[in-house]
């Protein structure tokens, strides 16, 4: 397939990352965005027209157009049916995070893809942020010696829309923001999260929201490292930037302060009525899409598997279970 055009279709574009993924695919040589479908025809038409790509009336019609790969960027609860529909019809699927809203759904998706020889990749773009890549290189080279602890945040702005509808999203800030950092930690050290204790709050920063908007996880990793993660949607609209992905790693030789996306100029705008940070960092979504297309073309296994998606989801599910019970929860029980 190396010299052939890679044909990609979008099943579900409700997640705004679909736009960035599509823009990156459109900028790559030898890749065709065949079209977009969404359960909301208006949304599919809107994004498709903005990106100047076709939109389709049904998922079946898009799959019937002949695709090499599918990107699933629907609401979280539809990841499973869409992945199951595409499995066996395409060689590879990129599924937005979190892989699903329940471990049972995630397991079913992984099984179906395995049964149909469909390679399933989960979209964890933070692995492609240059600072995260360099962090892993430095830690692998022994920068800190023995590592003891990691203090993490993945703050964000409250996204609204379907993200705050429990039926569609499956969870709020804790589900939305646990999986990115947990995936990075699992990848940095090749470990699993073993135990999670969590304090979670519903509607604390956004009265009446009806879903969790703040969360703190305290966890242990299988290599003995302990750490915490703040997943809160705690950046107000008036803040400088949408959020952050930070890892403060402490070991016997010193500390690394990784504010992984902090590559900003400061930009004051009278028209916007505020001062904000504007990013100049390399687009991590580009790295993710280059990696995905390479996987589609080469036939190799995905760099981020369905099992990786399930493992990260299980940590979020363990956090909710811990918050409900008030006790630490063993993550393996959630898988």
């Amino acid at each position: 397939m190396n010299s052939q055009t890679v044909r990609v279709g979008f099943l579900g574009v409700a997640h705004m990352h679909s736009v960035s993924y599509a823009q990156n695919l459109l900028a790559m040589a030898g890749v065709e965005v065949v079209g977009m479908w969404d359960r909301s025809p208006e949304l599919a038409a809107q994004w498709a027209s903005r990106l100047a790509v076709p939109h389709f009336a049904s998922a079946e019609a898009l799959l019937a157009a002949g695709l090499d790969a599918v990107v699933v960027c629907s609401e979280n609860c539809y990841h499973r049916p869409l992945v199951e529909e595409a499995a066996g019809r395409v060689g590879a699927i990129l599924c937005e995070k979190p892989i699903a809203t329940t471990a049972a759904d995630a397991r079913a998706m992984i099984q179906r893809c395995a049964d149909t020889q469909t390679r399933l990749q989960i979209a964890f773009p933070v692995r492609f942020a240059p600072a995260v890549v360099e962090l892993k290189q430095q830690l692998d080279a022994g920068l800190l010696g023995e590592v003891w602890t990691v203090n993490c945040t993945n703050h964000g702005s409250m996204p609204g829309g379907w993200f705050v509808d429990p039926a569609l999203a499956g969870g709020g800030a804790v589900l939305d923001h646990t999986v990115h950092v947990i995936d990075v930690l699992r990848w940095l050290w090749g470990v699993e999260v073993t135990e999670v204790y969590a304090e979670i709050g519903d509607s604390l920063l956004h009265p009446g929201l009806g879903i969790d908007d703040v969360g703190l996880l305290s966890f242990t990793l299988s290599n003995g490292i302990y750490g915490t993660l703040d997943t809160s949607w705690s950046r107000p609209k008036s803040y400088l930037i949408w959020g952050d992905v930070k890892l403060e790693i402490l070991g016997e030789r010193g500390a690394v302060h990784a504010d992984t996306l902090h590559q900003y100029i400061t930009l004051a705008s009278d028209a916007a009525g505020r001062t904000a940070w504007a990013g100049f960092g390399s687009d991590m979504d580009r790295g993710l899409m280059v990696d995905f297309v390479d996987m589609v073309r080469s036939g190799r296994e995905p760099s981020i598997s369905g099992a990786d998606g399930l493992a990260a989801l299980a940590v979020a599910l363990a956090a909710y279970a811990s918050s409900a019970s008030g006790q630490p929860v063993q993550v393996e029980k959630m898988v």
């Binding site: 600072a131 030789r253 010193g254 500390a255 690394v256 504010d259 100029i265 930009l267 705008s269």
Partner: protein
């Protein structure tokens, strides 16, 4: 496959070679250097051959990348242009305005592209500032301010240190360093009307140089550039700030970097270092050279032209003249 030849394989060539080496669609054919052992080291590390003469290199390539000290730019540009080769030339284009004019005009007559390596235009934070101006976020850019501060290129350590230390060869910190900011300021605020500068260039202090340059642009905007080879050793900082009538953009290399490492051991004591990494294709020297290839192959319009490189030299030389004379220099009348 565009065939690349590199002339001069000293310090700045290192970053160029690393970029060429990684770039798809080009072939790093080889090197020519008066110091043959430097060219041999480059060939060992990045492949390609060592050419015994400039003519031999010119016969074997499509593009020459001139990374020699500035004193050798002119002869190499003229030879490459005579041979009809596309040219990338490190900044500053030349030490003297008449030489820069001759180089640019000869390349134009020969129909040969001459790309001045004004790399600041390819640094992502500076690009983002320019993007904010182009998007109208700042309104009209009216007060420009930037700085580029390091220590003197260490005598005796770097091969090219004697070049930097000799004002007659290098033009000192204004022509070697401020030329970056002058080019970026012109990109953001347009043509320069007049220049006034003070500094250490003529202070008689060995291995020190520093300048504070005050600019007035044709648009009415004012600008300030600091260039230094007199800051504490091992430090290098840059910053830029542009105020418009509707907004302001700023960046400082001393802002918190995405990776900050603090280490301690009994032998080396406390060490602190920062890193601001990019993806390989966004690394500024790679992005710059890849852009020049795109222009040569007709896939992009040039972001920086030989005339830009020439004007940056002219403004830098005017700043030096102002420093020497203690008077403002009007650009319209300044002929070197």
């Amino acid at each position: 496959m565009l065939r690349i030849g590199v002339i001069g394989t000293g310090a700045i060539a290192g970053v160029h070679l690393s970029a060429w080496h990684q770039m798809p669609g080009v072939e790093l054919v080889g090197y020519y250097d008066l110091a043959k052992e430097a060219a041999e080291r480059a060939a060992q590390r990045y492949g390609g051959q060592v050419f015994g003469s400039l003519d031999a290199l010119l016969a074997a390539v499509d593009l020459v990348d001139i990374c020699t000290p500035g004193t050798a730019h002119k002869a190499n540009v003229l030879a490459a242009a005579a041979a009809g080769r596309a040219i990338v030339c490190e900044k500053p284009l030349a030490r003297h305005l008449a030489d820069a004019v001759e180089m640019v005009e000869y390349c134009e007559r020969q129909g040969v592209p001459l790309f001045p390596a004004q790399v600041v235009r390819f640094f992502p934070m500076y690009k983002r500032v320019k993007q904010a101006i182009d998007a109208g976020t700042l309104g009209r850019p009216m007060v420009y301010r930037s700085a580029r501060c390091g220590s003197f290129p260490r005598p005796g350590r770097d091969f090219s240190a004697p070049y930097y230390a000799d004002f007659n060869q290098s033009g000192g910190v204004v022509l070697d360093v401020a030329v970056h900011d002058i080019d970026f300021a012109r990109w953001c605020c347009g043509e320069v009307e007049r220049v006034f500068a003070r500094g250490l260039t003529f202070s008689g202090r060995p291995f020190q140089d520093h300048a504070l340059i005050t600019l007035r642009f044709v648009s009415g905007a004012i600008g300030h550039i600091e260039a230094s080879w007199s800051h504490p050793r091992t430090t290098f900082t840059t910053r830029v700030e542009i105020a418009g009538d509707q907004g302001l953009a700023e960046w400082d290399s001393q802002d918190r970097p995405p990776l900050l490492v603090e280490l301690y051991d009994e032998v080396q004591g406390y060490r602190r270092s920062g890193s601001n990494p990019t993806a390989a294709v966004d690394e500024p020297y790679y992005a710059e050279l890849a852009h020049f290839v795109e222009v040569i192959e007709g896939r992009a319009a040039p972001l920086v032209t030989a005339r830009d490189g020439l004007e940056a030299v002219r403004v830098a030389l005017a700043a030096i003249e102002s420093m020497r004379a203690g008077k403002p220099v009007a650009m319209q009348e300044f002929g070197g």
